[in-house]
Subunit: 452 residues, 2 copies
Amino acid sequence: MEIQIVFTSNVPKYIEIYKQMKQLILKQHLKTHTKIPTKRQLAQQLNISIHTVQTAYEQLLSEGYIYAIERKGYFVSKIDFDWHGNEVHEVETPKKTEKPPLINFHNGQVDAIQFPFRIWQRLYKNHLVATSVPNANWQGEVELRQEIAYYLQQARAINCKANQIFIFSGTQQQLQSLCTFLHGVRVGIEHPGFSRAYTLFQQLKLPTALVPLDSEGCTVPTEPINLLYATPAHQYPLGQIMSINRRLQLLQWAKSTNSYIIEDDYDSEFRYKGAPIPPLAHLDGLDRVIYFGTFSKTLLPSIRVSYMVLPTHLLSDFEAFNQLTKSTVSRIDQLVIADFMKSGEYAKHIAKMRTLYRAKRKCLIDAITQHFGPSFSVLGDDAGLHVVLSLPPHLTEEIAIRKAASVGVAVDAISQCFQLEKPKNQILIGYGTPTIEEIQKGVQLLASVYCD
Amino acid sequence: MEIQIVFTSNVPKYIEIYKQMKQLILKQHLKTHTKIPTKRQLAQQLNISIHTVQTAYEQLLSEGYIYAIERKGYFVSKIDFDWHGNEVHEVETPKKTEKPPLINFHNGQVDAIQFPFRIWQRLYKNHLVATSVPNANWQGEVELRQEIAYYLQQARAINCKANQIFIFSGTQQQLQSLCTFLHGVRVGIEHPGFSRAYTLFQQLKLPTALVPLDSEGCTVPTEPINLLYATPAHQYPLGQIMSINRRLQLLQWAKSTNSYIIEDDYDSEFRYKGAPIPPLAHLDGLDRVIYFGTFSKTLLPSIRVSYMVLPTHLLSDFEAFNQLTKSTVSRIDQLVIADFMKSGEYAKHIAKMRTLYRAKRKCLIDAITQHFGPSFSVLGDDAGLHVVLSLPPHLTEEIAIRKAASVGVAVDAISQCFQLEKPKNQILIGYGTPTIEEIQKGVQLLASVYCD
């Protein structure tokens, strides 16, 4: 028996064979218990490899359209249900994503060229073995939590144990886990603030107080909230560092109102000068403070690993609440990060990147000073991976972004961080990705369209 | 100047140097603006490498405890705030996890030895490059969604486009995302059912109807719910395949009540005989059906990648709702899976594993028949990676698990899948991990303690 299979160019051949034979069976053009060609016969007839036919037959077999009799061949199954000859449609080809900008000042990105890919690859290979494949511990791998505890002690003077640390796949996800656990929580967020945190509160329909900033950082909440989200080490988006006095005031507030403060320490590794100000989690000994950390800035944004450190008095309830929760983080990635930290590569990489980002920030500020007039100014302390650029009145955020794009420079909006009145003349400039030369070139290009 | 540093055995040397110098500075034993030893001097004094001292000094520098003057050396910073000499504590060494069982009949696991690690490693290496490190598209990488759309067409006759597919890091997380989006939804779940789904509904405080099973599968809901969670291809945990009539009845119910059905197709790839029954998502053309798929069973449980297919009429609202949501799935992993599918390795691996799991299932059933008496029986159709073993009255779940453990065999409880009356004499046996020989040995060991 000859079977007609028509190949088109876009679809793998085994899929065509599978699809068309299925249609023949469903439409009863191939009758029940008919013997179909052997794999070799069909391969010869269609001038393709036996392997391709085998893949198609395996699929038909597994779905029960055909059955096999040993040493006799393949036969058409009895199909009771009429699938109405449902046609398999073409899959739409997705649009190509837009081409990358000439100069990338997008916020929230890192200098990926500097990442020790070879070391990472070696560690990944070590852990890509059969023993690493069962599900991860829901709380996160103990090897990683142990390394994070060491790191927080030495880098942030935060005393915690591995059992206080919970591994998640990003700040939003851990914020969601926390808010779900603290059912009915009344949240507050510094304003302006991290728009992705605000969005999460909105998605969860939590009444959300906007807590204003002043020159010392997030002010003490006056509304009756019991969970405050703040970024003391480097306010997002404005970039200021919270004063020690304000830190102590906020802790006093949390203690007296039995509230919690989320200290999101999202880029504290990159602090370029000045005496250290202890994190809230240090000052308070992790009593009213819930500490958020991430590897997005220090490793790679695309790996999606973050962590939350809980006060010990919450542990047993949080564990009970999550008794049947599964981890959302690749176990292999967790073990790789643990090794990366243990071997000293993490500390080394951060030190290297801190030096580089410090130089990039200086270059950016110098270039802005050089090319822009006094109607432009830079906001934010000497830290992190972004600055806020304040623009003269004729340059609105929208115009500034469009003009930048017209010369191939990508800059970011800041208005989504404001829920009340939005700043008219500010943009975010991230300096994680571009090189020193690109930063200089980028600022020149911006000046060419901003200072006309 | 000599600085005394005491090394203990458990802590890396650079951390000791950092910690102890910080204490000396905070307690003002090292006075403001004092010059501290050069890296070389301290390395010689302590008989350690300069690199170790450098790591410690970099940390002190970055936190502002010391400052550097070019060609002069390092000096103690002025510290305004008294940290009260807060001591850095020892990190508790976590308990070792219990040793693995002799025979692993745990449910939800795969035969990892068979996984093509070398191919995966090669694909991972290809994608571990600077261009893969920015954040993933929140919906998931288009390359992966495209491959999943092809796969669903050919393997499940589900016609969908890449823009209907959303990538998540596990069933619970995508269920949470869906329920948060469908705010105020009234859910139902087949009973008994997947305990992790039920738990998620409880965590979200959603009123949850328990919809009973009968011999054809999940019955038509009678309570006023508008989202039903079901597992038609292989009921979890009891293992039956939903009849075509019941499928059509459920779709009729969904249409007439404007409800949605989540079709969790968690292990449909492993179906070992019989004519195919079309998925709800095929029968209904993805109108009232939301389809859940996962790579946990077909690839590795530890990679944490799953997907949800939405009806087109929900897309624009779901996208708007998640405008500021970030992906929780490693971009590199997504690109690796896409390549794995595109190259045909995925279809090949599934075909190979289907043959292997079919043989394991047969071996398990044969061994049970051979070694156990008529008071034992196996529930569940010819599919998946687990069976339910029904035990005689004297063997309760608890006793059965304990007796199995006493001879080194791990089996799982089923009672957490029941919210009302729990079965007294049933256990879950997963056959994903053990070899054919281990399955035979495991059943013999179980017989030795169950049939006395």
